[in-house]
Symmetry: C2
């Protein structure tokens, strides 16, 4: 039997999975997250017990018991027709420091970019080979932009993703080693072409997405760097000719530098890992 | 022993707590949420095992085991000095429909208010006797505004809170029945005075916070109504004389009406309970 507490902190070879395996009760936690995971964004955010059971693969009795526990915790709410994710889950999620600190530093500069363009302005971080969108501000102009706050897209075919990969060799190596699924006919799927592109982005300090994720949508993105490591990236996304990414590029770079300066002055470094 | 599954759905008198009580394994879930709950926003977002054990009241061994399980799930991340909330928790929280749908409908109108004022613009919902802030946009102007996205404030002493209470008799009754803790010398603590104020707000369609939560900070707020029920409230918050809440009031009301129109047209009703 493995020992816990202080002893384990010294054991650097132990993975979290080792510490968890075979522990009674932990399975409940995994199943509870499986249940939270079946809820998606968009139509059908309220699900019946039968649908939750089907999507999670859990027996109805188990799903019901877990839903009741999650409801007591405020993580699930009952609706007229079933269950939906509870507001408390949002409240907990907003405390995540990688989101909170970077967003607070970035928001005023994102507002400047919005006022200059009235296009969609993004803030994103790298997570594996994906980007996760921390913030997305936009006005009335309807657009076909594929992102959503808290959503993911493959890093290789987004402006923010390429801006981050250009300054993160480890993540870039992972992306270049795996096949890249084309999302449009402009997606860069050849690893050699993408590697060259990342070198250019690193030199220029700005990345462009020219319809590589969605036809009709272009983007200019710049990395937010701290000690030469990319903490996140900011971008302006829209449709030509209203948005000319080459003309907006310097404003996006300037915004990223402003965010860096705010972070360096302590305005948001709290908790940023 | 209580039966679960379909039988329970018919038993309308059963509370979620009844269904959960004494269930083996569910306790793990409660403890896991206790651990997530010890993490706060601000300095010290990364906590040591000892600190997590102290704050949660759980033995170190138990806390360590749960942290390992939560790390596998991505809800907790290791840092150089301990643990912090994981990005996956933010991703899950962003799927909460009461947040997502209302925010998407409101954001363009919030941007309009920001451009007109360059003050802080809020979107909030009522949760018990508190307001929970769904969105908060702001520019470079530094201010002493007490809110944060995902944070709570007592409804009685905020503009958004009073705008919501004026159209929600049940919540207003709860607030008026309990003592109201003064936050400044302008907080309305007399239930009779607050009840009169709510009547005036209901008639005018706009609520003002005149330094009732923070000295030097004022606010104009309007409810977002659907079938005469308040789904949320939008507000502009700032400091006089830069912000004149009486002059901005009609713009805030207009923004709320625009959000209602968007929601009524289906732009965000998805999942709003």
């Amino acid at each position: 039997m493995r020992r816990y507490g202080a002893a384990v902190v010294k054991d650097r070879n132990e993975t979290p999975a080792d510490a968890v395996e075979g522990r009674p009760g932990i399975e409940v936690l995994n199943r509870a997250v499986d249940i939270l995971d079946v809820f998606t964004v968009g139509p059908g955010t309220s699900l019946s017990l039968a649908e939750i059971s089907r999507r999670s693969g859990l027996p109805k009795a188990t799903a019901h018991r877990l839903l009741a526990a999650l409801e007591v915790l405020g993580l699930i709410e009952r609706t007229g027709v079933g269950y939906q994710l509870g507001l408390r889950l949002f409240e907990l999620g907003e405390r995540v420091p990688r989101k909170h600190a970077l967003r607070e530093a970035a928001l005023p500069f994102m507002q400047d970019l919005y006022e200059a363009t009235h296009d969609t302005v993004h803030l994103a971080v790298l997570e594996g080979t994906d980007v996760v969108y921390l913030e997305r501000i936009r006005g009335h102009r309807s657009s076909n932009v594929a992102s959503r706050v808290g959503g993911r897209l493959p890093a290789a075919c987004t402006g923010v993703g390429k801006a981050l990969l250009a300054f993160d060799d480890e993540a870039a190596a992972r992306v270049l080693a795996a096949p890249i699924a084309p999302r449009t006919r402009y997606t860069i799927t050849d690893p050699k072409v993408l590697a060259d592109e990342l070198v250019r982005i690193r030199a220029a300090g700005v990345a462009f997405d020219r319809e590589e994720n969605t036809i009709g949508i272009t983007c200019a993105a710049a990395p937010i760097l701290m000690n030469n490591r990319p903490l996140g990236a900011v971008s302006v996304t829209g449709s030509p000719p209203l948005l000319d990414v080459d003309r907006i590029a310097s404003a996006v770079k300037t915004a990223a530098i402003g965010i860096q300066r705010t972070l360096a002055a302590g305005g948001g470094t709290r908790g940023t890992r």
